[in-house]
């Protein structure tokens, strides 16, 4: 088995390989791939012909994904807390994970950075890192679950997002808080308001009691233990309180938008 493993992908991290492979595809190809799955997949095998027009299969899958958003919103209990763990269970080293290499991770100068606050809020002032560090902080040791299936336990410290939203006078009846980040190719992601107001949803400034390193999203990440990892924005530049669904980097490529845990 060990020999087989080496033969498969010698010296290459399989996760990175898969990610790189997907990354190299233009978005259209990635979308087409879903479609290709239809004709190459079970339908063809079972019937010997392409019974389902591929674009209509894709439309159906998208509809079911929207239905799954609704089901998950219905299942979401705003009081259900993600399990917490003792510090001894923290995964070491905690994996760096993104759709790019660590070398390509944003390098943000903390002194120049400001968090922009936009949309349905009373106070649209931008926040410096020093100002944010003065807000009351909490620590959580929770499990980060990746859409790929792996998981890791980490320790994150920061200000509950719901406290910050209150502080800036956000309209918490709005549907989303939409984050824009500094990742290359422009990562962004919408967070439904109920999840934004969850007690464990956090504006994170520290990992394992240390100032958030570049690998994990300096200067600020949003830790959402009730969402899959790809909906935990890093290198945050701005947040916008909005009623509009503005899509997201991964959501637009087909990952389920709610993706709640």
């Amino acid at each position: 088995m060990r020999r087989l493993r080496k033969l498969l992908i010698p010296g290459v991290d399989k996760k990175l390989l898969v990610r790189d492979a997907v990354k190299t595809m233009p978005e259209l190809t990635r979308r087409r791939f879903i479609t290709a799955g239809t004709s190459l997949g079970a339908l063809t095998l079972l019937t010997g012909c392409d019974v389902v027009d591929s674009s209509s299969a894709e439309e159906l899958l998208k509809k079911v994904s929207k239905f799954n958003d609704a089901v998950q919103a219905w299942m979401f209990n705003p009081d259900a807390l993600a399990p917490t763990f003792p510090e001894s269970m923290i995964t070491k080293p905690f994996p760096f994970n993104a759709y790019y290499d660590l070398d390509d991770a944003p390098e943000i100068a903390g002194a120049d950075w400001k968090l922009e606050v936009r949309g349905l809020v009373e106070n649209k002032k931008s926040w410096t890192l020093d100002e944010l560090y003065k807000l009351p902080q909490e620590k959580q040791v929770t499990r980060h679950i990746c859409v790929e299936g792996w998981s890791a336990i980490g320790s994150w410290t920061g200000t509950p997002l719901r406290d910050f939203l209150k502080l800036v006078g956000a309209d918490t009846r709005a549907k989303y808080v939409w984050f824009q980040c500094a990742d290359k190719d422009g990562y962004n992601s919408p967070l439904d308001m109920r999840t934004a107001l969850h007690p464990q949803t956090q504006m994170t400034f520290k990992f394992a009691d240390q100032i958030l390193p570049r690998a994990y999203g300096f200067p600020m990440k949003i830790r959402v233990p009730t969402k899959l990892g790809f909906k935990n924005p890093k290198y945050v530049l701005s947040m916008e309180v909005t009623n509009d669904y503005k899509g997201g980097y991964w959501e637009d490529q087909g990952y389920n938008s709610f993706s709640g845990n």
Binding site: K14, I34, G37, A42, L61, A80, R143, I145, Y255
Partner: protein
């Protein structure tokens, strides 16, 4: 004369071969087969994103093209699998089919029928009656089906259903349980299809009922 006519009439209605697989069984069986194949092939693609073991599944036998596409398939087909499965379980209990067809399973019967099967002495004359090995395998695969759905649900909603995750001993263990159940189902599928082809009238019964 009259009595003769009546008995003739009775003979006529009794004459068509008795239904071995009622229509509801055939319906849920084939829907399940379809949903299961979608789940397995998309599941393999999802597995490839973060393999538990030192191998991945060939792209030619997976569904969805990439992780995102496979997840769309998996979380769509799961509804078909789950709703169909619940209907099967409900009717299986309500009609007494499980009790009549699958019970009793005795160790002695299983051993005797396994021996008979391996020496090709097992009778398939009455397809409406399962032998002990069949009873064990069918009851077993139903259980595996329940466990794979529960472990899948616990991975899908590890916070909302954290009690279910605890039942499996944690998120990471639930992944292995889910994979193991898949492997058991695939193994069952291989044997099941091979035997159905060896005894074609059983396949016919699952299609037209008798």
């Amino acid at each position: 004369m009259t009595s003769l006519a009546v008995s003739d009439h009775q003979a006529e209605t009794a004459a068509p071969a008795k239904v071995i697989q009622p229509v509801w069984v055939r319906l849920v069986h084939w829907i399940n087969a379809f949903a299961m194949i979608l789940m397995i092939m998309s599941g393999w693609q999802i597995y490839n994103a973060s393999p538990l073991f030192g191998f991945t599944f060939s792209h030619s036998i997976t569904l969805g093209g990439w992780l995102g596409g496979a997840l769309l398939w998996h979380f769509a087909a799961m509804w078909l699998l789950m709703v169909n499965g619940l209907i099967y379980l409900a009717l299986g209990f309500a009609t007494g089919r499980f009790r009549k067809k699958l019970l009793p399973i005795t160790p002695g019967g299983v051993i005797a029928d396994t021996k008979a099967a391996l020496t090709f002495k097992l009778s398939h004359d009455d397809l409406s009656k399962y032998n002990s090995v069949q009873k064990l395998l069918y009851a077993g695969i139903i259980t595996v089906g329940v466990v794979i759905v529960l472990s899948g649900l616990s991975m899908w909603k590890p916070v909302q259903l954290h009690w279910l995750v605890s039942l499996f001993g944690g998120y990471d263990i639930a992944r292995y349980v889910h994979f193991t159940c898949m492997a058991l189902i695939v193994a069952f599928l291989v044997i099941h299809v091979a035997l159905a082809l060896l005894v074609p009238k059983s396949l016919r019964a699952m299609i037209i009922g008798r």
